[in-house]
């Protein structure tokens, strides 16, 4: 099948999508928008994707990509905060600096990373905290993502812990600050800096230079990025070039105000009554997505249909994925892959069934993780002002033809 045919049903332009989606008084969370048009313009090292902005680049992966464990690099979503991204980096001159409360302030080249440290490979999902934001009513602030601000790749690099160990942390070290090479246009704008509490440092946090066996694409952070498996991607700093260790937490907009949710049981609030106390979004909740079929696909009646998709969570692992074709009355377990890519990776699933009635048929997918957490229906998810952490039961509606 030609790629064009594959995507030709997608009609909504990202630039104008907002016009048709949010002018409603509905207050229930809904299924996010997932039929936006693929751009005519391909960004470097990428195939054409759903394009929200060029400065900074904001690109979303279309739903039909999510049928396998690994998301191809050229289809992988892109999200930057700062618009000035280096467009040419010399890998032989690139260094990462480790400074602050360390015994030795050091610079490490890419070559040294690849030869002087233990090399580690790990497959992990990278997902924006605002993925699926279009589900929320009233419209939550932030980029109005559909379902594809996520992907899963096999990352190769070195442990952050080993790099910090080489510099040697001082006793009073408590926070690790990360900064990449992206800059704002205006020189008074602060950089996009994120911090990790030293208590959260673990063996799985990597500085990765490779993605699915290739150099990272520029737009995914070439030549080096931070990987924090299980966590939303807000701290997965791209083009990372500086690590500063401090005793006190710095005052940072992107830590203190952005990427935070209400610190209460339901992680919810209302526009009239915003939560006073907030917490970082951090660990990803359980989720699943149907990659095939997509809404509007014509399916022949009485013919075997194989539904395919992916499921994941913050690292406890996926226990089961269930499918319903009757609106959620009866659920049947889908077949999961062997899980060899590990607990932070997508589990791909497949479910075979034969439609017996022509007309519209809605297919639902619902994942449950090893902690017993199960995806809720969209309407059961309550609002938060940033539109973070949506994980409603997925649905696509196909057209069964005689």
């Amino acid at each position: 099948m030609q790629r064009r045919d594959f995507f030709k049903k997608t009609m909504v332009i990202a630039g104008s999508a907002a016009l048709g989606t949010s002018h409603t008084d509905a207050t229930e969370t809904q299924h996010p928008i997932d039929n936006r048009k693929i751009s005519d313009i391909a960004f470097p090292q990428k195939r054409p994707l759903i394009t929200y902005s060029d400065r900074p680049p904001l690109l979303e992966t279309p739903r039909e990509v999510f049928t396998s464990v690994l998301t191809p690099n050229d289809l992988f979503f892109v999200r930057w905060h700062m618009p000035m991204i280096p467009t040419s980096i010399n890998p032989y001159k690139f260094h990462i600096n480790i400074n602050g409360l360390v015994n030795n302030e050091i610079k490490i080249s890419l070559d040294e990373l690849k030869t002087e440290f233990e090399q580690v490979e790990l497959t992990a999902v990278l997902q924006c905290g605002g993925n699926n934001r279009t589900a929320f009513r009233p419209t939550a602030g932030g980029i109005q993502w559909g379902v594809g601000a996520m992907g899963c790749a096999k990352w190769k690099g070195v442990r952050l812990k080993d790099v910090l160990h080489k510099a040697g942390l001082k006793n009073e070290a408590a926070w690790i600050g990360f900064n990449g090479e992206d800059k704002a246009v205006y020189n008074k704008t602060a950089n996009f800096v994120r911090e990790l509490n030293l208590k959260e440092l673990n063996n799985d946090i990597l500085l990765a230079y490779e993605m699915n066996g290739e150099n990272l694409p520029y737009l995914n952070g070439y030549p080096l990025r931070l990987i924090i498996p299980g966590f939303y991607s807000d701290s997965w700093i791209k083009m990372i070039s500086n690590i500063t260790v401090t005793k006190e937490k710095q005052k940072l907009h992107f830590m203190d105000h952005a990427y935070r949710i209400p610190d209460n049981e339901c992680e919810c609030e209302t526009p009239e009554n915003l939560a006073d106390k907030t917490k970082p979004i951090e660990e990803m909740n359980v989720n699943s997505l149907i990659g095939y079929p997509t809404t509007g696909t014509k399916i022949k009646n009485n013919t075997e249909l194989i539904v395919r998709g992916v499921a994941f969570d913050g690292g406890s692992g996926i226990k089961k994925v269930e499918i319903s074709t009757d609106g959620g009355a009866i659920w049947s377990e889908a077949k999961l892959d062997d899980g060899t890519q590990g607990k932070y990776a997508y589990r791909s699933f497949s479910y075979t069934f034969v439609p017996k009635q022509s007309g519209e048929c809605t297919i639902l997918s619902r994942a449950t993780n090893e902690k017993g957490e199960m995806q809720p229906f969209a309407k059961e998810i309550q609002w938060n002002h940033g539109g973070y952490k949506y994980n409603g039961i997925d649905e696509v509606t196909v057209d069964v033809v005689a």
Partner: protein, 107 residues
């Protein structure tokens, strides 16, 4: 003859290393047009917002209340140091965004 062979080796080494480095050749990020709706304050908004980021970054926030747009403008000034200096400029940009990308609600 020897010099030709040498040249070929040099060429292949250069080509080979370029290929090996892959991403090292650099990239060019394309320009994407996000047309602005015609309206009062469009040029002022264009000058103040689009200097730092695309207009796509603005309109893909969804249709929003006047309060939301005003708070965004103020956030741009306070957090990101946008050079929008007068109350009149804040009003002009807020009104343009609300009138053209608003949800009809003041709050």
């Amino acid at each position: 003859m020897i010099s030709i062979v040498k040249k070929l080796i040099v060429v292949s080494v250069i080509t080979g290393s370029t290929l090996f480095a892959g991403s090292n050749s650099g990239i060019t990020i394309p320009y994407v047009d996000f047309p602005m709706k015609e309206g009062k304050g469009m040029y002022s908004t264009k000058g103040k917002c689009n200097m730092c980021h695309s207009f796509g970054y603005v309109i893909n926030q969804g249709l929003q209340s006047k309060k939301f747009w005003r708070e965004k403008v103020i956030k741009m000034i306070k957090v990101f140091k946008a050079p929008i200096r007068t109350d009149k400029d804040i009003e002009t940009v807020t009104n343009y965004l609300f009138e053209n990308y608003g949800n009809g609600k003041l709050q």
